[in-house]
């Protein structure tokens, strides 16, 4: 439905995109993740036809964006970040305007506008000026405008940015409803939200795709596997916190009193220990044996945030050869 192949783009001296590729199948919801300045917004601006990339190609519902820009853009619905709208219009006027721009036939226009307003629950403010609406409503007007011509692909850039918690919840519910019926590319900073929403995630940083896959597969591949967290206190004459083959200590932080928080992770990050090799019992024994007291020992599933941070950090490290090859 949407195929992005090897996008490259540079602004003045900054290489914003260095070969970004990904694809969305029909009905798939894909999240675009990355720190600020990673190339997320540039990618989205390219996909929506706002910006012509210097290299690479984009195919939208079978239409090449460079060769058939109007046909391709006609299949696209786009909600830009912070939903820019005309404040002097009412939602109904704005949606009618968008429907005309997107060549919705005159006889279907009124119905398309009503349907989009109904879908985004803005019918109650249809006659008020957009400039007088709350941010949450404005965002939904922007979303309705992106839907009014029934596009094949929906692109949302930070759909819940700048909203208050109630508005975020409404917007999230709305986006989730839409996700069940459409092909969607969403960018967001709010990772737990995105994990619930998206079938797949594409993580980009420094203008290239670092990883892509479901939340589960990213966790397994990039977060160093399941960690062990122990809360223990060294007894009199205790040795240093013990290590075991297969796991390594990555954190030793003081808690109250003599208690310390010890965090272990599998020694080989990409190949986590299989379940039958659960090292908890061995670790507990080792701690007690070296004169520590143990009050808690638990397994800790990495959050998506941890995955994300680790990916970004690894991309920022100057060491690997990959960096050199890219320069």
């Amino acid at each position: 439905m949407l195929e992005v192949r090897d996008l490259t783009h540079a602004f003045a001296r900054v290489r914003a995109l260095r070969g970004v590729s990904f694809a969305l199948d029909r009905g798939e919801v894909v999240a675009l993740l990355g720190p600020n300045g990673a190339g997320k917004t540039t990618t989205i601006r390219c996909v929506t036809g706002c910006l012509t990339p210097q290299g690479g190609s984009i195919t939208l519902a079978g239409h090449d964006l460079a060769r058939e820009p109007l046909a391709a853009r006609g299949r696209l619905g786009y909600l830009p970040e912070s939903a820019p709208l005309y404040p002097e219009l009412t939602p109904r006027q704005y949606l009618t305007f968008r429907a005309r721009l997107c060549a919705v036939p005159r006889r279907d226009r009124a119905r398309a506008v009503e349907r989009a307003m109904d879908r985004c629950r803005i019918t109650d403010v249809a006659r008020r000026r957009i400039g007088h609406l709350s941010k949450g409503y404005r965002q939904r007007v922007g979303l309705a405008a992106a839907l009014v011509h029934d596009p094949s692909v929906l692109v949302l850039d930070e759909p819940s940015n700048g909203l208050d918690p109630t508005q975020i919840r409404e917007m999230r519910a709305l986006v989730r409803e839409l996700a069940s019926e459409r092909t969607m590319l969403v960018s967001s900073h709010i990772l737990p939200e995105i994990e619930q929403l998206a079938d797949r995630m594409v993580v980009i940083a420094a203008g290239r795709v670092l990883a892509s896959g479901s939340g589960e597969s990213l966790r397994r591949a990039h977060a160093g596997g399941t960690r062990l967290v122990a809360e223990a206190a060294p007894g009199p004459g205790a040795l240093d916190a013990p290590t075991l083959p297969g796991i390594r200590l990555i954190e030793d932080a003081p808690l109250e009193g003599a208690w310390r928080r010890l965090v272990y992770e599998p020694a080989t990050a990409s190949a986590p220990a299989p379940d039958d090799a659960d090292p908890r019992a061995a670790l507990a024994a080792a701690l007690l044996h070296t004169g520590w007291r143990l009050r808690e020992l638990r397994r800790d599933e990495p959050t998506l945030e941890a995955v994300f941070l680790r990916l970004i950090e690894s991309a920022a490290e100057p060491a690997p050869n990959a960096k050199e090859a890219s320069a």
Partner: protein, 240 residues
């Protein structure tokens, strides 16, 4: 075509939904009206609208850039250009739609001034000659269309309305000065070549009631050049 009209109507409505449109409209009607009442509507004055047209033309040079400065600059500033650029509308249709909207507002600006020839026809004896009046309005429309086209181009290049306004004014003044004032300072052959591009001599013909098709072509062709510059500027927005 439908998209062009949709953009033009939104643009025209925006002028009337915002205070700036009404202010421009009221100021233009008030100033030209004052000139009409003080210079023309007096016993013993000839039944012509020359004084009105002369003032209206000069005023238009200041008012038209204020109309066109919004067209793209406002959308660039607020970010609404982005959804517009992603709509299935060609850049040319977008530029033409915006321009057409501003020309329609120009027509709305001139409509109230029709009260002057009507008044004149009612109160004066002998009746005014319709030729120069028609020619005068045509000249205002052509001049206005040219200023708006230059203004559209300026507006497509900056997100600052002030800058768009000033750039339009400066380009127009520079062009008028080089073609109208400079030729007398140059050697006759170069001067003559430059003077042929002067808008003021053509406007003087219109004021005398002469409607020469070549003059209309001149204004429309220059407007087309300015609009293609605007087109290029909008297309350039897509390359980053």
């Amino acid at each position: 075509m439908s998209a062009t009209i949709a953009i033009a109507t939104r643009e025209l409505r925006a002028f009337f939904r915002l205070p700036v449109g009404w202010v421009v409209l009221a100021l233009y009607a008030a100033l030209t009206g004052a000139v009409f009442v003080m210079d023309t509507l007096r016993p013993g004055e000839p039944a012509t609208l020359r004084a009105f047209f002369a003032t209206a033309g000069v005023l238009l040079m200041g008012v038209a850039p204020a109309i066109s400065m919004r067209l793209f600059s406002e959308e660039l500033r607020t970010g609404t250009l982005e959804p517009l650029l992603t709509a299935p509308v060609s850049d040319l249709a977008l530029v033409l739609g915006k321009y057409l909207g501003s020309v329609l507002f120009l027509i709305a600006l001139l409509l109230p001034t029709l009260a002057f020839p009507i008044t004149l026809a009612l109160v004066s004896d002998p009746k005014p000659d319709p030729g120069p009046i028609l020619a005068g309005y045509l000249a205002l429309l052509l001049l206005g269309s040219l200023v708006l086209a230059v203004g559209t181009a300026a507006s497509a290049m900056t997100s600052s309305q002030t800058l768009a306004f000033l750039a339009t004014l400066i380009v127009l003044l520079a062009f008028t000065l080089t073609t109208s004032r400079l030729p007398s300072e140059l050697n006759p052959r170069l001067g003559e070549a430059l003077a042929r591009w002067s808008p003021t001599t053509r406007l003087r013909d219109f004021a005398r009631g002469v409607i020469a098709p070549s003059h209309a072509v001149y204004f429309l062709a220059l407007a087309a050049v300015a609009l293609s510059v605007a087109w290029g500027a909008v297309a350039g927005r897509r390359t980053g």
